[in-house]
């Protein structure tokens, strides 16, 4: 059925071109913008002609892919980690040794604010995606509002987070090595993993959460405000509606990635490394853990005589 829609477009666009010609379009509402919606402007007709650009893609993705992918990715990640837990099991480190103070109070507060934001935003996002199953209505509508409120919290936390961890999160040669050995998670042995203060996995999560987060904020804002008038967007030569469609597509795909890595992050902190949660509560990591999991960082601290 969608194919039919898409197939008809060639005819329409030929028809449209014969109307539109090469003369610049001067629209009726130009200059006397009526204060209601730009989506009511003659752009609308333009949109009928250019529907295939993004509209068709969005419809296709939303009908066939978004829900399936979200479901698949979430379940897939959970299954993988469940198997990991059964087969390989968690890593245990001695917690009786010296504690290394790694996260100061400010960093912990920021982290937990962001964490709270994620805890709000991701489930509410899921509620919207799987709104059918929840029957829609007030529940999901409130979830949508909560999603927006969570975003505000996220905006407040993600900016300082980005600044405070920007330097240690820069990629190093260790990260390549880390990736090659999959962070040492595929073995039950306690191996020394090459990583600085943060390992490549944490860095991936960081960059996705911050840069990806920014993109999600922007695309989300576009969808939230729906009707905006920014000169910079006009220069993109896109119709308002297409900006919205692209936003929705990008937001969904990033959402999948964020979900996957958020679940990973949860698994790592709660299950895969026993006691790692403590470090975000007290700010201290055990020396044992640092020694193995962040070997380069450990060496650096040693060298600087901080331990």
């Amino acid at each position: 059925m969608k194919k039919v829609i898409l197939l008809c477009l060639s005819m329409i666009s030929a028809f449209a071109q014969s109307y539109a010609g090469k003369v610049p379009l001067v629209s009726q509402n130009q200059g006397v913008y009526d204060g209601t919606s730009r989506l009511n402007s003659p752009e609308l007709l333009h949109n009928i002609m250019l529907y295939q650009n993004w509209g068709g893609l969005f419809v296709n993705l939303q009908i066939h892919w978004f829900r399936t992918l979200f479901f698949g990715i979430t379940v897939g990640v959970l299954v993988v980690f469940f198997l990991h837990y059964i087969v390989i099991g968690p890593k245990k480190f001695a917690h009786d040794g010296k504690a290394i103070y790694v996260y100061n109070l400010f960093k912990r507060i920021i982290h937990w604010m962001a964490a709270l934001a994620f805890v709000i935003v991701i489930p509410t996002g899921f509620m919207m995606i799987f709104g059918k199953e929840l029957g829609g209505g007030t529940l999901v509508l409130d979830a949508r509002y909560l999603h927006s409120i969570g975003t505000v919290l996220f905006i407040v936390s993600v900016i300082p987070m980005f600044l405070m961890w920007l330097i240690p999160m820069l990629a190093t040669f260790d990260d390549v090595k880390w990736l090659f050995m999959a962070g040492g998670y595929l073995t039950k042995k306690k191996v020394v993993v090459p990583a600085g203060q943060f390992n490549a996995g944490q860095k991936m999560w960081f960059w996705l959460a911050t840069l990806g987060g920014f993109v999600m904020i922007i695309t989300g804002a576009a969808m939230y405000f729906e009707d905006f008038d920014l000169a910079i967007l006009k220069s993109l030569n896109l119709d308002q509606i297409d900006i919205l469609r692209i936003s929705a597509i990008v937001h969904n795909f990033l959402g999948m990635a964020v979900t996957a890595l958020f679940v990973t992050h949860l698994y790592m902190s709660l299950f895969a490394i026993k006691g790692s949660l403590d470090s975000m509560i007290s700010g201290n990591k055990s020396e044992d853990e640092v020694k193995y999991m962040h070997s380069s960082f450990y060496k650096k601290l040693k060298k600087e005589d901080k331990i």
Binding site: Y19, L45, G55, G136
Partner: protein
């Protein structure tokens, strides 16, 4: 679905004169808030001889309506006569139907605190919504239910030049054929969005 029973909108660009009668008739009939335009008239190529034309656009009540397909909460339902309606008590105002719509039909009022966007509003072909027919609740949420009263939707009924026509597919195509066959009408291709809404 049998095709003879399909209700369709048809706007004859050769007759549409950009008088906005349909859009105001709609606004007024359903007492819509000012920010909502269920139906709008669009003028293109203003002032260019031989190219200026206008057409009236609202929800076309498409066959295989994409809005219905993308809705994450399934708030849409399609009547047997093809009228695409939605349930405002289920809608969450996500805007996906707008992105899916080739005609920009879904409208979102800003209500509530901080200008939050409310639930979607769109042309109902004057057929109300899921609430009991002609109840106050229905009128408040969706406007008049003229179809239930056996009346023509306000926009087409009040179209000044009878450019905008609504009816079952058979009657519409009959009028359409008569007009195309008329001597002075010129060669007419399908009106804007026709094939997009109803297939070829």
């Amino acid at each position: 679905m049998s095709s003879f029973a399909r209700m369709k909108f048809y706007c004859d660009e050769k007759r549409c004169i950009d008088c906005d009668g349909c859009s105001v008739a709609c606004d007024e009939a359903h007492e819509l808030p000012v920010g909502i335009s269920r139906r709008k008239v669009i003028l293109l190529n203003e002032g260019i001889e031989g190219k200026e034309f206008s057409t009236s656009v609202a929800c076309m009540h498409c066959t295989d309506a994409p809005c219905e397909q993308v809705c994450p909460v399934n708030c849409f339902y399609i009547r047997e006569d093809g009228i695409v309606l939605h349930d405002k008590n289920i809608c969450i105002g996500c805007g996906y139907c707008l992105y899916a719509c080739p005609f920009g039909a879904p409208q979102f009022p800003t209500d509530g605190a901080f200008g939050t966007r409310g639930v979607m509003d769109k042309c109902t072909m004057c057929a109300g919504g899921p609430e009991p027919t002609n109840s106050d609740a229905e009128r408040k949420l969706y406007g008049q239910n003229r179809i239930a009263e056996g009346k023509v939707p306000a926009c087409a009924a009040m179209c000044s030049t009878k450019a905008l026509i609504v009816g079952d597919a058979q009657s519409v195509s009959k009028i359409y054929r008569e007009r195309v066959a008329s001597v002075g009408h010129g060669v007419q291709s399908a009106p804007y969005g026709w094939s997009k809404a109803y297939g070829k």
